[in-house]
Each structure stands twice: as structure tokens, then as C-alpha cells.
Amino acid sequence: MVFTANETELVIKAQNGDRNAFSELVHLHAQGVLNVIYRMCGDVQVAEDAAQETFVQAWLHLPSFRSQASLRNWLYRIGVNAATDMLRKQKRILPNALEDLQLKDPQLGPEALFSQGERTALVRKAVLSLPEASRAVLVLREYEGLSYHEIADALDIPIGTVMSRLNYARSLLRSGLEGQLFLKMEAEHV
């Protein structure tokens, strides 16, 4: 992401206590942070609470933020931590996609099984059943389009770890979905 001069100025102003400048930064990055947190926790209300907490934490720690670094990546890091904390506090039990898949009646046929709504619901649940560390990498890559280097920067992990977590997340998703949904999709494409 290109770090615009305007954003740099806003960051400097906000670091000096300018609330209006910080509000503009919130406005700029709210959508991205909300998306990341929502993909992490799967609940809009939880995502909005965690996103608000993310920006409060960002405000408190903004003086220690280096203006040369990517604000977006920094906010994503706080957001992922906030989402994880929020989920742990609420002891939210994420749905198990595999169990849901096995409850489906195979006699219904692929059209009934794999309607658009159902398919997205199953995939969403499968994503939410991933381990948090792998899910965070997958979300940043697939939904926010961050490069491996940017993910490594955002989560403060080595690029090798980014690759292994991403491979692990995708292989878990494939193994979870392939028995029902995924192989059917493959068959349709062949």
C-alpha cells in the first residue's frame, strides 16, 4: 500500500493529540479493520466492538508508531489481537464446519446441497474453524490482498511462517470441504 503524504500528515497531527486528524484516520481504515476482524470472528457486533477497541488502542499507542511504517498493517495487527482477545473473553464457540457438512443429507442432490447461500455458509464456517494464527494469515491474504511481506510485517512473524500458516490453512480448508463441497466443484469443472 502506498503511504500517502496526507496520511503521514494526519498521523503526525494525531500523534500530537489532534482528535480530528485521528477521526479522519479512523474513517480511512475503518472498513479494512472491520473486515479483518469480522473474517476472524464471524460476528458483526463482535467485530464492531473489537474494531472500536482497536482504534482506542491505536490512539493510546500512536506516539510510539513510526511514521515511516504502514499504518494499515499496524492497525491490522492490533485488530487481529483485539479480535482474538474478544473471542477469548466471550468464550465464543465457533461452529464446526465439518460436523455441519456431515449432517447434510446426500440424497438431496448437489443443487440442494450447494445452493449459493448454503455454500457460502459452509465455507464461512470452515474458515472460522481454522486455528486463529492460520486464520489471521488467510484472512489478510485472501480478503485484504496483502503480500506475504506485508502479512509478515502486520503480524510480526517471519515470511516462512506466513507461508507455512497459509499452506496449513488452505490444506485444512480443502480437507474439510473436499468430501462434500469441494470435490463436487472439481467434478463440475472437469
Binding site: Q15, G17, R19, F22, S23, E24, V26, H27, A30, Q31, L34, N35, Y38, V44, A47, E48, A51, Q52, F55, V56, Q57, W59, L60, H61, L62, P63, S64, F65, R66, R77, I78, N81, A82, D85, Q116, R119, T120, V123, R124, V127, L138, R141, E142, Y143, S147, Y148, D156, M163, L166, N167, R170, L173, R174, L177, E178, L181, F182, M185, E186, H189
Partner: protein, 202 residues
């Protein structure tokens, strides 16, 4: 056919491979049905993930207003950090000030001592005469052993006076410089540690 490249297919799909690795994977994919199928499966998985729509969130304006209401009225953490940061800067700046003061004092003393030894300050007050007699002693001693004579004695006396006062100065300057650089290095390392570790602790 070369060995399967399944371990690199994720990076290939994400356009993260460069150089020879990229060309190797691309060439292998052109002829390997197994790896082609793997890549196709990954592409379909990515397509499925992108089918999940984003929900309707609170509008950015409203969200920013809500965040603004939750912000603490005073940035206590920030002001505490600023005080600490000022302290970290004031200590080396103070040391520099002391060093400048001492260097100036030594320099003035050195100039006066040298001028006195050359007889330029014969009419000044008595306390300068003590330095002059000391330098005269050394000049006389060197002259006695036949090393110096005539005008050279004056030169030797001034050189001796300069060396006697400069050596402690140089030592002091080196010590202060090392101390200052160490301080800056510790401050820099501490700042970097805070930046990288602070938010991960939560």
C-alpha cells in the same frame, strides 16, 4: 519430468514466486497433470472464499464518531512517554553542555598558560605567575640537558604546556563521546524494542 512442485503452488498462486523458482514451477506445471490439478483446486478454493460477502457495517462516519466518544480525554500514556523521552534526551544534552563548558575552560586556561610562558602576560596579576614559573622550570630543565637553547626554549615550554593541558582534554572528550554514543545506542535499542513488542504483548 521433474519432482512435483506442490509445496510452491500456494506461493505461485499468490504471485509470490520470483526468478528461477517461478520459471521452474511454471515449466513443471506445463507438463504435470498432478500439479495442474493441485493448482486448480487451490484456485477453486480461493474462488469459494471470495464468495463470502462482507456484511453491512455501521457507516464509517458513525463508526468514527463512536470511536471518538470512547477515546480517553487525555493521552496519559502519550504524555508519560513524552516526559520519559525528554529525560532520555536531556541527560546526554546535559553531558554535552558540561563537556563544552570544561573544554572551553581548558582552552582558555591553555591559551593563557601559553601566552604567559611566551612572556605576553608579564603584567597580569600574580596568579598567572605561578604557571609561568612552572613552565620556566621545565624550559630551564630541558635547556640544562642541552636539548633546547635560546628561542627554542620558549617553543619547548609552550609545547610542553600545551601537551600537559591537552592530554587530559582529549581523554575527557573521548570518554564523553563514548558515553554519549552508548547512551544513544541504548535509547535507540529501547525505542525499537518498545515499537515492536508493545502491541503484541496484549
Amino acid at each position: 519430468m521433474s519432482k512435483h512442485v506442490t509445496e510452491w503452488l500456494n506461493a505461485y498462486l499468490d504471485d509470490e514466486l520470483r526468478g528461477s523458482r517461478f520459471h521452474h514451477v511454471k515449466a513443471h506445471l506445463a507438463e504435470c497433470k498432478v500439479c495442474q490439478a493441485e493448482l486448480g483446486a487451490l484456485e477453486r478454493l480461493s474462488g469459494l472464499l471470495h464468495e463470502i460477502p462482507a456484511p453491512e457495517y455501521t457507516s464509517p462516519e458513525r463508526f468514527a464518531a463512536q470511536v471518538n466518544l470512547r477515546l480517553p480525554h487525555q493521552k496519559t500514556a502519550a504524555s508519560g512517554k513524552k516526559i520519559l523521552e525528554i529525560a532520555w534526551w536531556m541527560i546526554p544534552v546535559g553531558l554535552l553542555g558540561i563537556w563544552i563548558f570544561m573544554s572551553t575552560s581548558f582552552l582558555v586556561s591553555d591559551i593563557l598558560s601559553t601566552a604567559n610562558s611566551l612572556g605576553l602576560l608579564t603584567s597580569v596579576s600574580d596568579w598567572l605567575a605561578f604557571g609561568s614559573s612552572s613552565n620556566a622550570y621545565w624550559s630551564a630543565t630541558l635547556g640544562q640537558i642541552g636539548i633546547l637553547s635560546g628561542n627554542s626554549l620558549d617553543w619547548a615550554a609552550s609545547t610542553e604546556a600545551f601537551t600537559r593541558t591537552s592530554l587530559p582534554q582529549i581523554s575527557l572528550q573521548v570518554s564523553v563521546a563514548l558515553l554519549y554514543l552508548s547512551w544513544i545506542a541504548i535509547w535507540w535499542a529501547r525505542r525499537r524494542h518498545q515499537e515492536h513488542g508493545q502491541l503484541l504483548e496484549s
